[in-house]
Symmetry: D2
């Protein structure tokens, strides 16, 4: 398997949040485990002590490394000879800053779920801490871990489609079609609560994924947005649908649709970039395929592992062509890259340059800026600069 090269010992990993019943916590664990580069050995897995205990046992953590809170965990793990080398932060957004800061200050590498933080101030503070401590800080904008997304990026970067002109992105879901946030659905409740989720709900949850993906594939910097943000469901406190106009550096224009009330869209993430001489189209529900257009010839369908695919995609390809890879594999690729970055730091060497594709704190900061700009634009009905 391309990704299996286990000459080093496993990286000792801890987790904050992500206990039983957490969807994303389980994703992080499988992603960390898939290539066997990490060993989960400690956790503060829930704010409720009983659930923290139960979750820790479910994951077979040693009793003394099942912590009731992140602060104690950071302090005690830092003090152990066999303490964790990295931590996954899988708590609600409003806790990211405090939790990440604690581990950075304890000298522990951080893998933080997205979005990074609830404000640019928080994001900048984390970036400063990570920089001064010289630690790896990965933010799991995991969609850039799909091999065919990296292929798309390489094709655009190579100039094969010419200077980008049009960028169309969308991320449509339907799980918030009904007011489940008001009816006791725990995940829906915090994700639509301004106190816990930050200034944007739908735009923070799925909008920032789309923002990140488009930036990655197009290689362009988003400069400004004009946003029309809606909350369609009675009683909902935050946005559940947004239409956003995009202006990129270099003159490309586009639009983004982010929604969590689009019935029938389970997880419709899609990016299309068109340049002066071609285009690329990728759809997250068929992630092993990439449509590549060179204007003047029939479009080609590139497949993961198939003919004509380049080294960046092949490096993170596990399965033979035609054997589908999915979401867990792409998430695992973010962990794979993080593992290489952490080991390179530990070994005092330069990392494999390809591992720098892992989304880092600068991607996290940019996405926080995007949310702030969208909210500001929607409030003021004018174009707002995203760069901050």
């Amino acid at each position: 398997m391309a990704t299996e090269n286990i000459s080093d010992s496993r990286i000792r990993l801890g987790m904050v949040g992500g206990g039983e019943d957490s969807f994303i916590g389980a994703v992080h664990r499988v992603a960390a485990r898939l290539d066997d580069h990490f060993d989960l050995v400690a956790g503060a897995l829930s704010s409720t002590s009983e659930r923290a205990q139960r979750s820790g046992r479910m994951m077979r953590l040693p009793e003394d490394r099942i912590y009731p809170d992140h602060a104690g965990m950071a302090r005690l793990e830092a003090a152990r000879a066999d303490g964790i080398e990295a931590v996954t932060i899988a708590t609600p957004n409003h806790l990211h800053h405090e939790h990440c800061a604690a581990f950075l200050d304890a000298g522990i590498h951080v893998i933080c779920d997205k979005p990074l933080a609830c404000s640019m101030a928080e994001a900048r503070d984390l970036a400063a801490r990570a920089k001064s401590a010289d630690l790896v800080f990965t933010v799991t904008y995991n969609n850039t871990g799909y091999p065919m997304v990296r292929e798309a990026r390489d094709i655009v970067a190579s100039g094969r489609i010419g200077e980008p002109r049009a960028v169309q992105i969308e991320y449509a879901q339907d799980w918030l079609t009904n007011p489940i946030d008001a009816e006791g659905h725990k995940q829906a409740a915090w994700r639509t609560d301004p106190a816990r989720v930050g200034p944007g709900a739908c735009i923070g949850d799925v909008g920032t994924h789309a923002f990140n993906l488009a930036a990655f594939v197009s290689g362009l910097e988003l400069e400004s947005v004009f946003a029309d943000v809606s909350s369609f469901v009675a009683g909902r406190r935050m946005d559940d649908d947004a239409n956003i106009l995009l202006r990129y550096g270099g003159g490309a224009r586009g639009s983004m649709w982010a929604s969590q009330i689009a019935c029938g869209n389970e997880n419709g993430l899609r990016v299309r970039v068109y340049g002066a001489s071609g285009g690329v189209e990728w759809d997250g529900e068929t992630p092993n395929h990439l449509k590549v257009i060179e204007y003047g010839a029939p479009p080609a369908i590139l497949t993961r592992g198939g003919f004509g695919v380049g080294s960046a995609a092949n490096r993170i390809t596990r399965m033979a062509a035609g054997l589908p890879e999915g979401y867990l594999e792409c998430f695992a690729n973010t962990y794979l890259d993080a593992a290489e970055l952490i080991r390179a730091k530990q070994q005092g060497r330069a990392p494999d340059p390809a591992a720098l594709d892992a989304p880092d704190i600068s991607d996290g900061m940019a996405a926080v800026g995007f949310v702030e700009a969208v909210v500001e634009s929607a409030g003021k009905d004018r174009w707002v600069d995203v760069r901050r």
Copy 2:
């Protein structure tokens, strides 16, 4: 065949513009001929006399009914006992007003290509003339002639998907990727020439199709737009790409992307409408299918002629399920409806209500208003009311 019911004699039809080398002229002719309700008997087919002659002969028109210009044609045909009953106007946009007016004033029904006119003033004037003369005036926003588009409209109207919330439309082409308008491509030249095409190029040509389709399917009135309009190709005088935010009556929101520089998109017309309890999705490159979502159940794929499809679609369905129908058939349905409306007028009876689905002058006017509003919004960087 559902559409074949030829108890009446054929309607005598004339054509202005649309001679040899015209793409859309040929489409109109086949569409008129398909169900055998029309007989093309007269034409002023080109502004160049020689081409007009040659085109008329190619179509086997009688020599005395091959006219050098529309004005003479309108006058002489109106004077004949066997003169044309209806005329197709297939000239460039800036001539629509003059040409339509001439035939309306001669008491002849009009089938005009879209967009209707270059300004609301022109459009209103034509509407007034058609009304006072009590004539049929069809504007060939033909996509509403697809059976599954009518099915989608009926599903939305029935309330099955609930109150519409999100409307996503796009019409992406790539034929203007290169500066062919500056290189002698006749069709491209007039379609990007402000003197001949009106205030919007891409937004008039394909944008108004998308606008019309979304209004038809959603049953909603578009109230205001915020537009970002671009011209990407060096030397091009008009827009070739536009991203537009949409606010509909009743609170639905959405966006439209219209482009003629999106490499790999041959004719990508797509409409999606999502309501409080479901959605419909239709793609013009697979027009015989319609995805229907009722939230809480798996999506269904309705097929033209297939199970579960209603009467409006079946009325204009020619082929058995699984035998694909295409663009010519949908265009022919617009002619089919026009034939019924014309005969009802002639026979002094009420038309089959289903034939009122044919796009008429009010649709044409609304689309002209859309173009004006988009141009104004793009110029002023603010939301602009579309209703005028």
Copy 3:
């Protein structure tokens, strides 16, 4: 429009069978009308005199050219100065021989629905008559009229996919899932009646289409078959499903599945041919696309009217790329080719070689041979030679 070149006068056409309520009769009429090369002027449209009259009036035939039977029609039309030049035979299979023979003997070109006849003896007799009379004889295996089918044929013939190895074809429908033939469904009744349909029902109706299509695309001669033929529906008298192994000249092997009881398959005609260095795949429900594989490169999706498509397809392409064409257009292409062949005969010149792509009596004969061989193989449980 590529196909519109109407310098000649229309060919006077008659029709036998195909009156009101006939599905295929209406298809023939539209197909003949689409490019304006034919004028339907006479008919013996039903075996029931009243229906024949009503159908003829519906089609606006002159009263004296609405005939009660084919024999009188052949005789009287042959005697008229303005008599029909060609006739469409759209009667049930068991009448094809008699009807075709009458018109051939009257010196009238024939366009006969498929299958050609109920036995090789009948087929050979018609071939002999057509040959001695030097008349055009088209058999409407219309699927070869799809532009992308001709493109597929050209690609295989060019050697781009190498020597064919594997041929996979299927034609699956579901309209005979229930015993509608026993419940008064007229079309189903005759199509499953051995006295009217010939030795094969499903294999004659859809199986021969698949057989013809595969031969056309692959350029190979089918040599022998091993067939497993079933009748699944209680009370049905003939086959409604068949699985057939195929051995082609040159060593290619394959299989065919023909069915009319495959729920959910409205009209699933599909052909795939794989050679030593590539392959082509075409699906009749998305007929404007063709997947082309050159081994070692990503597959390309060729589109009708799009980049990289050759002259045979473009010659019969009406609409711009992305504007879908369908079944009527492909059927019209068979008529388009027939018109050219007929005119060439009339004008004593060689036809446009491309028009020879129209399926002719040799295709019709081969298909009758296929049906006979399949029935024989199923009866004897052994490989049977198809060539006869």
Copy 4:
């Protein structure tokens, strides 16, 4: 995550074969690791001592549990208090019998790659040993581990599609298009070597997957086959393409196409079952979707994790609807079920009945019988009974 319930300690696992450069070995390891139910602690990973050592170290096995051969491993592991509880056999087919037997005899549960053995005699012998030792014996026909395959099975079993009539299966690949087996490609060499692969190459490798999948989904027993087996590539010693007619108990009929020379088919596994009142269609390249037809209604597209999906599929669903799962996840489900079966044996309790879906030795035996029957039929040109 539905599959994560780690109350028990991990099962100690060994592996025979599957060392560095083995594709399927890596698949087994990830599959075993994904849900954290297994711990790989011992291995005889290659027949070459040096590669066995290097592979063992790559997997971080303790030095004393990196074995040079399977026999020593079985003996020594059985003697350890912390010896392996289960073993994965990932060697070429001709070694399966010897290797499996050694571990069964040592009282160790077996997870064997497919096909099970090179003859019915070998297969029966293994079955007898497994039975007498009361050990779990899983054969990794992993495609039954796809959630939507289990959903398809449940739908057919529920009677929703009626009595099955038509079964269409195919498994087409293209990796043996060229004579790479003769050019030093290690994997291709043994897979086309009669001494190592058994009587069938393509039919054993992919044909048995298709056979197993169709039996699982349809719930039918295949009774007899008529096969046409080919070897297209010069110098190849065994079959690389096969067309096979299928007769099932209960009267259903069908065909299978298995190929490894079908250019452009990376891994085209597809099963379709049609009954008297509906059908199911599943395609292994889009495994998260299942088309379900109830005759008389539009088809529905069921999605893994989506609305209307039943408990068998949901039990093994890890990701939310719309987040694609792939091949590794389905393979992991086979391991998940094996883990439950092993623990139930160890704990002296009945297993979760759902875990009995794991393909076991009876599935392995049936597939060996299928290969033998296909080879016999192709040799004798007659129908051959598969049940043996």
